[in-house]
């Protein structure tokens, strides 16, 4: 019963809010909410990603092969259709890799056919394809549609499959929530380093502002290892629902509390008490928004991207708030737009807020771009 309920629930978004569409354990209670500003009753129901759906569709192997051949051709054809000067074009190599992952997520593995083998380089032999049937987590029709959306509509792959692999996590994502970026994984690495250096950080309260899918909050909670607490805030209902769901999926209800509201507003009760503050706020200058890569500009929420005229509106607000919210010795890490913005933030913190922080520095991402600003509350 639970299984079929789960499956149908994704088809109707109007299900009651506390059904456990994605929960790994239906018995687990949703996060305890302390104030009225927490999870509100306006919450929307999060979608179920492909890989968590029941394998309730079946198709002959030959039909799956046909779909795969079609999808491969479509992916390979993008190179022919784009001019080399066009910066914002699809890359067929990446698309083929995504296709492999789409198969992993949508075809049930069995002893007889591992998803990769089904569509590997092996060509269909004999009449095998007619006889054998494959269990799918979406109908073939939907798979055709999803792949078309990916290539023709430039819908981000992560929205297509409904999840993003981030660090060692698999996070549910959907339209309305920023897809966590690889760069942001490093925020958790930095927290891990700080925590390893001083156990004190493990026992205090952390906050992740503008949590989106809940990625950083969940990553930090796992680094804290059971004793700490993380409060994740977001202004968006969708984000609150998705983050709450991800927190439940990782069984972290006791550690991560999701609160709805703008930046520090839902955090009045912990003012001056935070031992850590992390955020990946919107930081793209408004003028750059129209020129964004199609997947980002057309599909991801502007709320999570647009950082005002020079992109620093939210970051500066966070800097001011950090001095008020962090307890003495508390750590902060913010992601920025890159080199130039990082320098601006460091300048602001070391001049306007010079009595509040120490050890303010820029940390680079793996591409060598000065991506993060970190430091400690004096």
């Amino acid at each position: 019963m639970i299984r079929s309920f789960r499956f149908t629930s994704l088809l109707s978004a109007a299900k009651p809010l506390r059904s456990f569409a994605c929960s790994s354990s239906p018995a687990i209670e949703p996060p305890q909410c302390s104030s009225s500003s927490s999870i509100s009753l306006r919450i929307t129901h999060p979608k179920t990603p492909l890989f968590l759906r029941a394998p309730s569709h079946a198709a002959p192997l030959s039909e799956v092969w046909k779909w795969h051949g079609w999808a491969k051709d479509l992916a390979s054809s993008v190179d022919d259709n784009s001019s080399p000067e066009d910066e914002d074009s699809l890359d067929s190599i990446l698309l083929l890799r995504e296709l492999k992952w789409l198969i992993e997520d949508s075809i049930e593995a069995s002893d007889h056919h591992h998803p990769v083998i089904i569509t590997g380089t092996e060509t269909p032999r004999g009449d095998d394809g007619e006889k054998k049937s494959v269990k799918l987590r979406a109908s073939l029709e939907e798979l055709y549609d999803l792949w078309r959306q990916r290539i023709e509509k430039r819908r981000p792959f992560q929205y297509v499959v409904g999840c993003e692999h981030w660090r060692d996590l698999v996070l549910c994502v959907e339209e309305g929530v920023l897809i966590p970026r690889p760069e942001t994984e490093l925020v958790v690495d930095m927290v891990e380093e700080v925590v390893r250096g001083d156990e004190w950080f493990k026992r205090g309260v952390w906050a992740d502002l503008g949590t989106g899918s809940g990625a950083i909050a969940i990553g930090v909670a796992r680094v804290l290892g059971g004793c700490g607490r993380v409060i994740a805030t977001d202004l968006s209902h969708v984000a609150i629902a998705v983050a709450g769901n991800n927190v439940r999926r990782y069984g972290l209800e006791g550690m991560v509390e999701v609160r709805e509201g703008s930046w520090f507003e839902p955090l009045k009760d912990v003012e001056g008490k935070l031992v850590g503050l992390v955020s990946n706020p919107p930081y793209i200058p408004s003028d750059d928004i129209p020129g964004l890569q199609a997947e980002v500009g057309r599909h991801e929420p502007r709320l999570a991207l647009d950082g005002g005229v020079d992109g620093t509106d939210s970051l500066l607000h966070l800097c001011d708030g950090a001095s008020r919210m962090l307890t003495s010795g508390g750590f902060f890490a913010f992601e920025t737009n890159g080199e130039k913005q990082s320098k601006m933030i460091v300048d602001y913190m070391t001049s306007n807020l010079k009595d509040s922080f120490s050890g303010v520095k820029i940390v680079s991402d793996f591409a060598g771009i000065g991506r993060f600003v970190t430091g400690f509350r004096l």
Binding site: E87, D91, I93, L94, R97, E98, W101, I117, G120, T121, E122, P156, F157, Q158, E164, H165, W166, R167, D168, L169, L178, I179, R181, P182, E183, E185, N280, P282, Y283, I284, D288, L292, Q293, E295, V296, E300, A304, L305, E335, T336, N337, G338, D365, F366, A367, G368, I369, R371
Partner: protein, 480 residues
């Protein structure tokens, strides 16, 4: 029913040992001094007390190589790692003599004990050669000496390594010796049955011999994979030679050959790193092959593979020769000592960087390249779905590459371990695949050849691998 035989043979065998104890001792002491001198020990070293860790009790001081009859019997029964008795039947038949008798080996369905015995004895000989028997015994004695040093455990890593190797070699030695003794006991039992006209016992023993004959073939194969690290999983890397599209396509064919070979062997395969060619094929790729003995088999594939065919990329339909180089890296188990990597020695890069990154870019590409600055060794991974996992996967490759480098360095230092297998260098051409003007795959090391290249390219490689492993091991021991 077989337990009955064993019970009966056990009680008898004690008697056998006693009766023939003296003769056995003399053979032992002979071979013992032999190997002691070859290992370069002075004779005073051999008066040290030995510990039979394999059987878990101390056999006491062996003050002289000429054992007393009784003490020999006891050590032989527990198969001490130091005394290597030569087992024989009541009438003095040994494995060596069985071979010397050159009894004809008939079909295994023929109920002829001599034929069975000859076949099994031959297998034992092959197994011993493959295990490099004499070297194994010398090594075992050296390890026992080492294990008995009083301050051994002051260095637990070293001690652990020594005792692990000792345990593993003892296990191999015991396995062969038990098998050998079992053969001779069956022969005795058979003779007894004939004397006593016990036809039931006779037929039971005969079928036991037949079973041993089947098992001995399996043991021969097992012995091929008895080198250190053979049981490990491994990485297989294929790199295209010069020649652009033509050789990129060949490299992809070679990689595909290994993927299907591994799948047939029930190993799991994951692509770690893959750099596609501009037009077709791959410039290089790394796969991880997970499973018992993956490295033991795959190591036989190291070297350059050459293809001759009419190029599908040449509009002039000319014949082309392409090359692809194959490297195989063992993934050492947790028990092995692995190279320590300092974080400060690493540079981590995003492989395919460019653009503003961060929120600007939504890409599923999170490839990572790790550079180990002191050695210049790099590792790349782009097939995982998160940067974190790509990094972890690339680190694992880097670790294995550094481990292999360290092993190569130690091998070079330790001439004793220099075997034909480790002499294979990256640049050696090992096999030719001809698709035109005739069709053939030939291994240049063993001259093993097959006239159906398609089956080989579809992963039917075991013939090549086993013939190479056996030829290199069988040759290896002759040299000593």
């Amino acid at each position: 029913m077989s337990s009955l035989i064993i019970n009966r043979s056990r009680s008898r065998s004690v008697l056998l040992w006693k009766t023939y104890g003296i003769k056995i001792t003399s053979i032992i002491s002979h071979s013992f001094t032999d190997s002691v001198s070859s290992s370069g020990f002075s004779s005073s070293d051999s008066t040290r007390s030995f510990k039979t860790t394999s059987s878990g009790f101390e056999s006491g001081k062996i003050s002289n190589l000429a054992f007393s009859r009784n003490s020999f019997v006891s050590t032989a029964r527990t198969l001490s790692s130091e005394a290597v008795p030569v087992a024989s039947t009541c009438d003095g038949l040994t494995v060596e003599r069985i071979i010397a008798n050159q009894w004809p080996i008939l079909d295994e369905n023929e109920s002829d004990w001599k034929s069975h015995a000859a076949a099994i004895a031959q297998s034992i000989q092959v197994i011993k050669r493959r295990l490099q028997w004499k070297k194994l015994l010398v090594r075992l004695r050296m390890l026992s000496v080492e294990l008995n040093k009083p301050h051994l455990w002051d260095d637990p890593t070293h001690a652990g390594k020594i005792s692990r190797e000792h345990g593993s070699l003892t296990g191999k030695m015991k396995g062969v010796m038990t098998f050998e003794r079992e053969l001779l006991e069956h022969i005795d039992m058979l003779k007894l049955a004939k004397e006593e006209k016990d036809s039931e016992l006779e037929s039971e023993t005969m079928s036991a011999l037949k079973e041993m004959r089947r098992v001995s073939k399996e043991k021969e194969l097992e012995a091929l994979l008895s080198a250190e690290n053979d049981q490990c999983s491994c990485y297989i890397e294929v790199q295209a030679g010069a020649g652009g599209t033509e050789s990129n396509d060949w490299a992809a064919m070679v990689m595909e050959m290994y993927k299907t070979w591994a799948q047939r062997r029930k190993f799991s395969v994951t692509v770690v790193d893959e750099m596609p060619g501009e037009m077709a094929g791959i410039k290089r790729a790394t796969i991880k092959v997970n499973g018992e003995y993956a490295y033991g088999y795959a190591k036989a594939e190291v070297g350059v593979h050459r293809l001759v065919r009419i190029s599908p990329f040449d509009s002039g339909k000319r014949r082309h020769t392409s090359f692809a180089a194959v490297a195989v890296i063992p993934i050492l188990g947790d028990g092995s000592t692995r190279v320590q990597i300092n974080d400060s020695d690493l540079r981590i890069e995003r492989f395919r960087s460019g653009g503003a990154g961060g929120q600007h870019a939504n890409t599923t590409d999170s490839a990572v390249r790790i550079i180990h600055i002191p050695t210049g060794i790099t590792a790349t991974c782009q097939n995982e779905r998160s940067q974190h996992m790509n990094k972890a996967s690339a680190m694992a490759v880097l670790q294995s590459r550094l481990d292999q480098l360290e092993m190569a360095r130690q091998t070079a230092m330790n001439a004793q371990h220099t075997q034909s297998l480790t002499e294979i260098s990256w640049g050696n051409q090992i096999r030719t695949y001809v698709l035109h003007p005739y069709r053939m795959v030939k291994d240049l090391r063993t001259n093993y050849e097959v006239s159906d290249p398609d089956s080989v390219l579809e992963g039917d490689l075991d013939g090549f691998i086993l013939s190479f492993l056996s030829s290199s091991l069988d040759k290896g021991d002759d040299e000593h």
